[in-house]
Subunit: 134 residues, 2 copies
Amino acid sequence: MVKETSTYSISELAKEFGVTTRTIRHYEELQLLLPERQGQKRIYSLADRIKLKLIVRGKRIGLSLQESGELIHMYEPGRSNVDQLERTVEYIGASRQKLSQQLRDISTMLDELDKAETGCKAELESLRKAANKE
Amino acid sequence: MVKETSTYSISELAKEFGVTTRTIRHYEELQLLLPERQGQKRIYSLADRIKLKLIVRGKRIGLSLQESGELIHMYEPGRSNVDQLERTVEYIGASRQKLSQQLRDISTMLDELDKAETGCKAELESLRKAANKE
DNA sequence: ATTGCAGTTTACGTTAACGTAAGTTATATT
DNA sequence: AATATAACTTACGTTAACGTAAACTGCAAT
């Protein structure tokens, strides 16, 4: 069963993305989200949900809220003039470089984890052999 | 020309890794580094340098200093007993999972950047065509 | 009518990761 | 001997990203 409506309450989003409502309101304070209102209550659109998803994903790879904000901004209207578009393309290039570096870093770490694990398991083996000889 | 000695001053390391000496001392406050001393002066070994490298790399992919500290700990003596070794292997597994998730996140972001870039460039093209028609 | 959620605002508190400044010491150079 | 340079310690300051508490609102069910 998939959702049929395209609006969400704050607690629905909070539950879905594993954050608190305070966190979501905080993102709004920083202008990362700007939900509609029904009276006092915040009503989140599908677009808001996607932005939140991007923020949460960004956090997993160590982006600051500012950086996520800039990424969000890229997917938005602002494509008014050439100057703006060119700066966006530049920013995309820089982002790609940073992400590529992260890929390399993660590969290195995974390699090192493999080595460490192999070492641990060998160590465990020899400890168990020694224990059996008693 | 490669370094032949295997000790470093704090400012050498700071320069090499692009951090301040304050930062390096901070890592020592958190017990991530424990350099020798010559009187007051800190003398860093090759092992210290490697740890620092790991910390800096960890920061690039969004690890906290605590997490980097735990990773460092894994590469260290502690292999005394079976219990400890097993917990280390578990921790390695968890780390690998987290890193794998990051790999997926980064791939997704790179894809989205590609789409955004394509969109921008198309937009730029049509803007330029329009400008030429004047 | 009141009890109970789910939501709201306002505002101060907290943690991580350093920055920054002030004053001290040791070594090397002019 | 005086000065510069690189190190050091102590301690308070700062920013990001929320946490937490208090007090209020609106609607729904008992």
